[in-house]
């Protein structure tokens, strides 16, 4: 067991200190070594907040108010900032949705990946680090890896930027990779390449992946286990086969039926929708 999240609770508070919103409510799940767990849900369902809570990156006025996040048996919520820093980037790395805003525009991409190695791999000297960065570029399938070291982010395409982000995340061979909508801003063919790359890296390095997305197609392609979130709560949790073949929770069913699926939904028929008047939390959780 690599990561065990138990009854995680993240809340936001207003000026006078009352609870304004419970963004993650009593969420529990586990990630095995070498497996991929997908969190799926609509905007505001708490999926990104869950990943930020795990990394200890929730900002004021939000706070993790309960639960445990056990990473290899160690509770991350009890670590101080210094020891969290040594874990972030080294044992747990993160990829974000928008590669343009998460890269620093005024440094070369090589320098930015080098920074991770400077912080976490102090045994390497300058030449070794540069060698390692170029190897990472090769690993993520960057064209002309040696030339790319000195390029600035704006010179790269969206897909290449996301490759830089993945190279940066893989720099220290993390045990857990958290990917928050990593392909949402990309074209479908580029998305396919990035997803394939992540699967390949997982097969090579045995990395566990926590994949956050709203795209059920991507879930079907990536996940071993799926967690469906709705208004901060987990409503269904199942293996990817079970979830798609036999969805049990009404919300999951509504979500699946609302996407036009070639061959499964009659063309030009009206799609099912998630009913805004129903509180899907009234139905029991379906955890398999």
């Amino acid at each position: 067991m690599l990561l065990e999240v138990k009854n995680l609770k993240t809340q936001f508070f207003n000026d006078v200190g009352d609870i304004a919103c419970t963004c993650v409510n009593e969420t529990s799940f586990e990630i095995q070594k070498g497996k991929t767990v997908c969190i799926v849900g609509e905007s505001g369902s708490g999926k990104s907040m869950t990943s930020l809570s795990i990394m200890g990156l929730v900002e004021e006025p939000g706070r993790v108010t309960g639960g445990e996040v056990l990473f290899e048996g160690k509770d991350l919520l009890k670590q101080n900032e210094t020891s969290m820093r040594s874990i972030r980037g080294k044992d747990i790395a993160m990829i974000f949705q928008e590669p343009m805003t998460s890269l620093n525009p005024s440094y070369t991409v090589g320098y930015q990946i080098d920074e991770v190695l400077r912080l976490h791999k102090k045994e390497l000297n300058k030449t070794q680090r540069k060698q390692k960065v170029i190897e990472l570029f090769e690993l993520v399938g960057m064209p002309l890896p040696a030339d790319k070291y000195n390029e600035y982010p704006f010179k790269l395409s969206g897909g290449q930027r996301q490759r830089v982000m993945i190279a940066m995340a893989m720099a220290c061979e993390p045990k857990l990779l958290i990917a928050d909508e990593p392909t949402t801003a990309l074209d479908v063919t580029i998305q396919a390449q990035v997803l394939e790359l992540m699967n390949e890296l997982q097969a090579k390095k045995g990395t566990s992946i926590l994949f956050i997305t709203h795209d059920l197609g991507v879930v079907a392609q990536m996940a071993d286990e799926v967690i469906v979130m709705y208004k901060g709560n987990v409503v269904e949790q199942a293996s990817v086969e079970d979830l798609f073949e036999n969805p049990r929770h009404p919300y999951t069913k509504a979500l699946l039926n609302s996407i036009p699926r070639p061959g499964k939904v009659k063309r030009k028929s009206r799609l099912d929708t998630v009913d805004e008047n129903i509180n899907y939390l009234d139905f029991p959780k379906e955890i398999r």
Binding site: E42, G217, A220, L255, S258, R261, R270, V274
Partner: protein, 263 residues
């Protein structure tokens, strides 16, 4: 199809952009749309698909005369739009409307919903104030916006509701054609379904023709009759939905189809 049923006829349409590279270098010419030909028939949903930079939005902009073509012609109901008189332009702008991708930036934040939907009526018709207001209420009801939202501002709405405002604005002049530029790609899947359902209903009810621009082949398969696939400014394939999905011919279409993660 008889000539009567052809809404748009596009002939050798071309759009190039020139980028100046400094004083002593030759400017670089970029072909956004490269001599494309197609026809749009009355009552159909004509989809234009492709990845970013393929020219699909540029094509849409030229249909609406937001961008001027570098070469080629656009015929609307058999008449070349570049020869339109002022009066004909006025008519054309009523008949051809657009719904934009981003419901957050395409609505004026300082205007109320009522003002936004009423503006096309104020500019293009001679209706009295009272008639305009009642028309706005009528259209709001039709697209699923509540009666007392008339005085609210765009920021008070969710993405799906804002897209409904955009649809109401496009619909208020009883257009023949609506160009939908990625109308659902900024929305959550469940909201996307609601908006697609609304578009399908409205098409039947008002006998609309859609030019539907999208990169999402799942959505396109569901809603359209014919599909045009674009790649770097060129049309690589043009066929009916059935044929494109069952028997794609162009290499790029095959690549595009195999890239969609399916559920």
């Amino acid at each position: 199809m008889s000539k009567q049923d052809v809404v748009f006829e596009i002939k050798d349409l071309e759009k190039t952009y020139t980028i100046s590279r400094g004083l002593f270098k030759d400017p670089q010419v970029i072909k956004a749309v490269n001599k494309i030909n197609f026809e749009v028939f009355h009552g159909e949903t004509y989809a234009i698909v492709g990845e970013s930079g393929c020219g699909k939005s540029t094509t849409a902009k030229m249909l609406l005369n937001i961008e001027e073509p570098t070469a080629g012609k656009i015929f609307f109901r058999g008449k070349d739009i570049s020869t339109f008189t002022q009066q004909e332009w006025k008519e054309y702008r009523k008949k051809v409307q657009i719904i934009f991708q981003d419901p957050y930036s395409s609505l004026n934040p300082r205007w109320t919903v009522g003002e936004i939907i009423a503006e096309p009526l104020k500019l293009n018709t001679n209706l009295s104030k009272k008639e305009i207001v009642s028309k706005v209420y009528e259209i709001m009801k039709r697209v699923g916006l509540e009666h007392d939202w008339y005085d609210r501002y765009p920021h008070q709405f969710s993405g799906g509701q804002r897209q409904r405002i955009g649809i109401a604005r496009a619909l208020v002049l009883n257009p023949e054609v609506i160009v939908c530029d990625e109308p659902v790609s900024a929305l959550d899947v469940s909201i996307q379904a609601q908006v697609l359902n609304l578009l399908l209903d409205l098409q039947e009810e008002f006998d609309l023709t859609y030019v539907f621009i999208s990169h999402d082949l799942g959505v396109v398969e569901h809603i359209s009759d014919r599909i045009m696939v674009m790649y770097f400014g060129d049309v690589v394939e043009l066929s009916s939905v059935d044929e494109l999905f069952e028997n794609p011919k162009a290499e790029y279409t095959k690549k595009l189809l195999s890239a969609i993660p399916t559920v």
